[in-house]
């Protein structure tokens, strides 16, 4: 089943739309009567999108949703997604792929904050940049993302992979402040730079191929180590949190 959703031109394009219904399972089960919210107003899906559905699907995994047009303010697409595929041709709004457990989301443009928040499984690929709290946990929750893969080809914002507790996060560009803060488990890879990486980390592994600025002083320097042909400095910590995490860094700079 191919579902094509094209965002119609809107008079006030900045108003966010809550679209948690846009997941393969909804279309697999029922295609009529779907709605989204703008503020406290419930609107039919067709008011915001022109909808085209072709074919049938035998399972959730047979559903592919394509989103066209200006979708930069469409929020919560792919929330609780448990199979199938979503392809966003442009940018996507906040909370894309919240709690998803299986399936694939591909974003050609940029993603706003909270991409793949508390994800359990599946794959998210973002070809542009991601906002703050990419692959992070909900506020107050001890364990954030627990499985699956998030790959960002551009930059990621602050608090990337905060409270990461499983799965893999790869950022090909730079990450903002405090990447991997409170990490418990899983693997975080940043190809560019970041700052204050992995503060309060208690488990898992992180690789920074660029430079870590304002390096946290409570990591113990273990020494040089070669990983995949590159020479890293290996750190253990965060010892301020009885941490058993491992941090591999190409270059680092402590705060002056």
């Amino acid at each position: 089943m191919k579902v094509t959703l094209e965002v119609r031109p809107r008079r006030k394009p900045h108003l966010p739309i809550e679209a948690e219904k846009i997941v393969p399972r909804t279309f697999f089960e029922e295609t009529d009567g779907l709605s989204v919210f703008r503020g406290n107003k419930e609107l039919a899906l067709e008011e915001i999108f022109s909808v085209a559905i072709e074919g049938e699907a035998a399972s959730v995994d047979g559903v592919e949703i394509t989103i066209l047009g200006d979708s930069s303010r469409i929020k919560r697409v792919g929330e609780y997604m448990d199979g199938g595929r979503i392809h966003v041709m442009g940018d996507i709004g906040m909370h894309c792929g919240n709690f998803m457990s299986a399936g694939e989301i591909v974003i050609d443009g940029n993603a706003d904050a909270w991409l793949g928040r508390e994800m359990r499984g599946g794959t998210i690929r973002c070809h542009g940049s991601a906002g703050d709290f990419c692959a992070a946990g909900y506020r107050g929750e001890k364990r954030g993302m627990r499985g699956g893969t998030v790959e960002v080809f551009g930059d990621a914002g602050d608090f990337t992979a905060e409270t990461l507790a499983g799965g893999t996060v790869i950022v090909h560009g730079n990450a903002g402040d405090l990447a991997g803060v409170d990490m418990k488990d899983g693997v975080l890879t940043i190809m560019g730079d970041t700052s204050m990486a992995c503060a309060n980390m208690s488990g898992g592994r992180a690789y920074v191929h660029g430079t870590v600025y304002d390096m946290i002083p409570t990591f113990r320097n273990i020494g040089r180590e070669t990983v995949g042909g590159d020479v890293f400095t290996r750190f253990a910590g965060d010892i301020a949190n009885r941490g058993k995490g491992t941090l591999f860094i190409r270059n680092y700079k402590y705060m002056d």
Binding site: Y138, R139, G140, E141, K142, R242
Partner: protein, 566 residues
Amino acid sequence: MTELLIRNACVIDPINDICGEIMDIAVRDGKIVESVGSGAEVIDAGGSLTMPGGIDAHTHVCGTKVNFGRYMSPEDMRAGRTARRGHMHATSGYSVPTTYGTSYRYSAMGYTTALEGAMAPLEARHTHEEFAYTPLQDMMANTLFDGNWPVMQAIHDGDIKRVAAIVGWTLSAVKGFAIKLTNPGGTEAWGWGKDVSSIRDVVPHFEVTPAEIIRAMIEANEMLNLPHSVHLHCNCLGKPGNYETTLETFDLVPNTNDKRQSLYATHVQFHAYGGSSWRDICSRSEEICRAINQKPQIVMDMGQVMFGKTTTMTADGPMEFNLYRLYHNKWSNHDVELETGSGIIPVYYNRKNLVNSIMWAIGLELALLTDNPWQCILATDNPNGAPFVKYPEIIALLMSKRYRNGVFQTVHPDTEHNVPLAALDRELTWKEIAIMTRAAPAKALGIVDIGKGHLGEGADADIAIYPLNINEIDPAKAPEEVIRAFGQTDYTIKRGRVVCCRGTCMVDGENTTIWVNPRISENHSMDHDPEFARNFDKNYTIRMRNYPVQEEYLQRNLCIETEARL
């Protein structure tokens, strides 16, 4: 004039000695009366179980520390969200819900009155503001005196009249209801990084012991003629082997009041541990209950623990620090100048954990081993042992041996070697449950005379009608029916109005704050006491004239005036 007639109610009203009679209840202008005219609105209860509205004798639902529990647990706000509907505001939260959430959920369970377990006098305004937004329950506030500097000074000087005068002034200034002691002396010691380990330890800088504080406060309480007794959270909460401290504390209590107990010991489950460490912790509920059975001057509540997620919050700062070292999760620690402190920690009680399983068993044992149900009140120290929404499950555990055994199978396998629960065959009756959830709390709090906890003529028309026929259902065999029925009333009636019908609240509501004002003779009054005023000038960040909670903070309220023997 509004009139209401409830027909065919199967009434259990222990205070008036009614047990399962089918009768009609007439209500006029919020009070229960002999009869009403033919124009009255009629509710047909159809033989359903009808009781006075539930009373929670110890719960933490309003005030600064509850609100800080909300602040620090945004993840808790994800649970239990409901949308705005009719008269009901949107709510969120599970263990520390919004005030409306608390109020609606209590009301759906038939609860119409609640006592906030701990209000720091200095932070009383916040508690009263939240009372105003808990519209479907009448509220009272226990006022903390465990580390009050002028009080400890007066105890040290051996001047009980001065203790009573300070307590009386403070209660009426902050519109409090009763004296609460939380780890007396220990919370003050915590201000210096210390704790007390028995009731004979000396509190640093004040040269008084917890035992002296407890004894003096019981005496002062009777001098002030307060409706409720001293409300005590014993020392050494949650420490293995603490049952000895609890028993020593019980031995301090004289029998001084023939209308009610002289001491209310709260959440005793947390104070009934044997052993010497977490490895050999065991239940000492039998010793505790033996003491309770011999001492009619003490009433306790269970402090039942139920498995799952919750938040612990107490004025017992040092205890929360110990918990923090166990869990290593987030922790709040707070000092209230010259008065008390507090701590908050989110916890998860796990049935696979031996200590948690033992805690679960002890609470039930306390209820089952206490001969007189008037002496053991059903409560979880909400939310410390479990959120109050678990009360129906606790009722089922107490009423059905079979259900209890079923849950016992799922807990840590070593539990049976450490607790006597499996050997207890007692199953509580409907009447005993009615006593533990409404009649005994009303009597213990001393609010029977103002019309709470019973359905006699002149009582407040706070009534709960549960969808359950006690003649058809055997609670021992059908615990799930008990849980369902106590989880949601058909009708909850407050002050003669239906406020909640099958879980839906029907009115905006307006509650009553009940507080006390002991009348103290002019020559003992603190109003013009130079030393008392000097303490404010010297030590407090607030002047004495700004300290009392202004009338604006109270909306609808009922002041119980007492004549102090001073």
